[in-house]
C-alpha cells in the first residue's frame, strides 16, 4: 500500500508538473524580477537623476507642501513620498475630486528636483519598466487580465499539488538533504531538482499558497455572493478593509479650514518612530475643516502592519491604528509575505535568491522529464512527437523567456524616445525574441539548440552594461564611484546572470562526451548486442 501511494504520487507529480510547468516558469521568473520592479524601472528611465541625494526630511516636506498648495489646492487627496528605502525621489501626487459618473478623480504625480522644489526637468522616457514584468507575473500578456489570472491560478493549484506530491514521493528528504552528485546524468538532475525543492521548501509552499490567497475572492466568490448578494460585493470589501464611506457629492463644498505646516506632523511622527522612519504623508480633504493627515512608517519593522499615525489639519494627533480582526490580520500577513514590501536589502536579496531557486526548480523538473525519457526515445530510433514537443517547449521557455527579458531591456535603450506606443513596442520586442527562440529550438537538434540559445542569452546579458555605457552616461565607471546603486546594481546583476548562462552553455558543451559515454556503457551492460546510439542527439 505504501509503495502504491508513493508511485501514485510520483505519477501525479510528474504530470501536474509537466502540464503547468511552462506557465509556472514564466510566473516564477517574472515574479522574481518583480522583487526589484522599482529598481528595474529606474534603470529603464536613465533620464531621472542618480539615486543617493540626501535631502533632510523637514526640508523635503516643506518643499512638497509648497508645490501641492500651488498645484493641487482643491484636490481630494495629497500624498508626499519622501526619499528613503527603495524610493530615491521626493515625489508628490494628488487626486482631483471625482466628477459626476466617475468613481475616482484624475491622479497626477510629479518628481520634485531637490534643488529647486519644482518638477524635475528631465522627462523620463515612457517604458513598461519593472511593472510590466510584475503584471505578466499574474496577468500574463496579450489577453484580458481576468483570463491571465485564471490561468495563473489554475497553474498555481497544480504547483501546490506538485509540491505536496513531490514531498511524499521523495524517499529520503533528510538523508539526502545535502546531497548533490554531479556528472552522473539523470542522477545529477534528480539530486539538483531535489536540493532546489527541499532547501527552499518553506519559500515554495509560502509563495504558492499566498499567491492563491491573494486572488481567493476572485477564484472563490461564492461565500461573498451568497451572503451579500450578486451585486453587493463592494459592501463586503468596504467592511473587510474598514473603509469609511466617501463623503456624498451632494453635500456641497465643505467649510474651509487651514492646513498647518506638515513639518509639525513629520516631527511628531519621527519622535514616535525615529528619524528617517517616515515614508509618506498623505492629506485627505486638504483645506477643509475635516482634514486628516496620515503619516506612514517606513517598511521593514513588521511583516504586515505598516504603522500609521493620524492627525487633524492643525497637526493634533487623532486616534491611532484602528484594531483589526484576526481574519484581516491573517489575510494581511499572507498578502505581505507574498509581496515582500517589508523586506530591506538583505532580505530582499534572499527573496530574490529563493525566487531564482523556485524558477530553477521548475526548470530542472521540466528538463528531468526529458532526460528520463531520452534513452527510451533513442532506443526506439525515432523521437515521439510529444517528446520532441516537450524538448522544444523547454528550450523555448527556459532559455526563451530570459532572452525575451534581455531583449526587453535592449529595446528600452534602442527604440527611439519619441516612438509612438513605445511602451507597447518594448513588450512586443520581448515576445518577438521569445517566439524566435522557440522557432530556433524547433529547427535545431536538441542539445545544440540548448547550447546555442544559452550562448545567445549569455551574450545579450553580458553586453547590456556595455549598451548602457554607449546609450547613457551612467555606465559602471560612473555609477560605481558615485554610489548610484540603482544603476550599478542592475548592471552588475546583468553581468552575473550573463556569466551564469554562459557557464551553463559551456558546461553543456563540455559535458556531452561524458554523458554519451555513460549512456553507451549502460546500453552495453543492458544488452550486449545492442549498438550504442547517440542518445543525446535525437534529431
Amino acid at each position: 500500500m505504501k509503495e502504491g501511494l508513493r508511485q501514485c504520487m510520483a505519477w501525479l507529480h510528474t504530470w501536474a508538473g509537466l502540464v503547468a510547468g511552462w506557465v509556472l516558469f514564466v510566473v516564477f521568473l517574472t515574479g522574481t524580477a518583480a522583487y526589484f520592479n522599482a529598481e528595474i524601472t529606474r534603470w529603464m528611465q536613465p533620464e531621472l537623476p542618480a539615486a543617493g541625494i540626501s535631502l533632510p526630511p523637514a526640508q523635503a516636506v516643506s518643499m512638497a507642501q509648497t508645490r501641492l498648495a500651488g498645484q493641487a489646492a482643491g484636490a481630494e487627496q495629497w500624498t508626499v513620498l519622501l526619499p528613503g528605502g527603495r524610493n530615491p525621489d521626493l515625489s508628490v501626487s494628488w487626486r482631483a475630486p471625482a466628477r459626476d459618473g466617475q468613481r475616482f478623480g484624475r491622479f497626477q504625480r510629479e518628481i520634485l528636483d531637490p534643488a529647486t522644489g519644482l518638477p524635475a526637468e528631465a522627462k523620463p522616457r515612457t517604458t513598461g519598466g519593472g511593472n510590466l514584468l510584475y503584471r505578466i507575473h499574474y496577468d500574463l500578456h496579450y489577453m484580458p487580465a481576468v483570463w491571465g489570472r485564471w490561468i495563473v491560478g489554475i497553474c498555481s493549484m497544480f504547483m501546490l499539488v506538485a509540491i505536496i506530491s513531490g514531498v511524499i514521493t521523495h524517499k529520503k528528504i533528510f538523508a539526502d538533504f545535502f546531497t548533490f552528485r554531479p556528472k552522473k546524468g539523470q542522477r545529477s538532475w534528480l539530486d539538483f531538482h531535489n536540493a532546489l525543492s527541499v532547501l527552499a521548501l518553506p519559500y515554495h509552499l509560502m509563495i504558492t499558497y499566498t499567491g492563491l490567497v491573494i486572488f481567493m475572492f476572485m477564484y472563490m466568490p461564492f461565500g461573498i455572493t451568497s451572503s451579500y448578494g450578486q451585486n453587493q460585493q463592494q459592501v463586503f470589501y468596504d467592511e473587510l478593509y474598514n473603509r469609511a464611506q466617501p463623503v456624498p457629492a451632494s453635500a456641497g463644498a465643505p467649510p474651509l479650514g487651514t492646513l498647518a505646516p506638515l513639518q509639525s506632523v513629520l516631527a511628531q511622527a519621527e519622535q514616535a518612530w525615529g528619524p528617517g522612519q517616515v515614508r509618506s504623508l498623505s492629506v485627505q480633504r486638504a483645506g477643509t475643516t475635516d482634514t486628516v493627515v496620515t503619516a506612514t512608517r517606513q517598511y521593514g519593522h513588521s511583516v504586515s502592519r505598516n504603522g500609521q499615525l493620524r492627525f487633524d489639519g492643525s497637526g493634533r494627533p487623532l486616534d491611532t491604528d484602528s484594531a483589526r480582526g484576526n481574519a484581516t490580520a491573517v489575510h494581511a500577513t499572507l498578502y505581505a509575505l507574498h509581496e515582500g514590501h517589508f523586506a530591506g536589502w538583505p532580505l530582499r536579496w534572499l527573496f530574490f535568491l529563493a525566487g531564482i531557486v523556485g524558477t530553477a526548480m521548475v526548470a530542472t523538473g521540466l528538463i528531468l522529464w526529458t532526460v528520463k525519457r531520452r534513452p527510451r526515445q533513442a532506443k526506439a530510433g525515432k523521437t515521439h512527437f510529444g517528446h520532441g514537443l516537450v524538448e522544444c517547449l523547454n528550450i523555448g521557455t527556459i532559455v526563451g523567456l530570459p532572452i525575451g527579458m534581455a531583449v526587453y531591456f535592449w529595446a528600452n535603450r534602442l527604440l527611439p524616445i519619441e516612438l509612438d506606443m513605445r511602451r507597447n513596442w518594448e513588450a512586443h520586442a520581448m515576445f518577438i525574441a521569445w517566439g524566435l527562440t522557440l522557432l530556433y529550438a524547433v529547427a535545431r537538434p536538441v542539445m545544440r539548440g540548448w547550447r546555442e540559445t544559452l550562448w545567445a542569452a549569455s551574450a545579450l546579458y553580458l553586453l547590456l552594461p556595455l549598451l548602457n555605457a554607449v546609450t547613457t552616461r551612467r555606465h559602471l565607471g560612473v555609477s560605481l564611484p558615485a554610489g548610484d546603486w540603482f544603476m550599478a546594481g542592475f548592471d552588475l546583476t546583468m553581468l552575473a546572470i550573463g556569466a551564469s548562462l554562459g557557464y551553463a552553455a559551456w558546461t553543456l558543451g563540455r559535458r556531452k562526451p561524458v554523458a554519451a559515454a555513460a549512456t553507451a556503457r549502460k546500453a552495453r551492460a543492458a544488452a550486449p548486442s545492442a549498438t550504442p546510439s547517440p542518445a543525446q542527439e535525437p534529431a
Binding site: T179, P182, L199, G300, V303, L350
Partner: protein, 129 residues
Amino acid sequence: MTSLTTTVGGLTLAYSGFVALSLAMDRHYADVFGRGQEPGERQRLVLRLLGAMGLVLSFALCVVRDGWGVGSVLWLGMLTACALALVLLLPYAPRRALELAVVSAIVGSATVALDGIHGMLAPTRLPLA
C-alpha cells in the same frame, strides 16, 4: 531594516551549523575526510549539538534584532542560502567547505559576542508582539 551585523552573523552561524550537521552524516564526513572515514559516536553527537547550536543562535540573532515576524522570514531565507551554498561546495570543494565553516563559526560567534549576550537575554529587547 536588517543591519549588517544581523546579516553577517545570521549567515555565518547558519552556514557553520549546517556544515556541522552534514559532517555528522557518514556520506558527507567521507566527502570531507576521505572515502571510508566515519565519525565516532561521540564525535557525531558533538557535531549534531554544535550544528543545532549554530542554527538556534542564528535564529535568535534574527529574531532579537528584527522581531518575530521579519526575523523568522529572514532566518528561513538564510537557511536556504546557506544550505544551497554547502550543497554546491561539498562535491566540488569539500575541504573549502570545512575551512569556510571554521572561519564562519569564528566570525558568527564574534558577531554575537560583540552584539552583547546581555542584550540578547535582556527581556526588554525581546519583541513579543
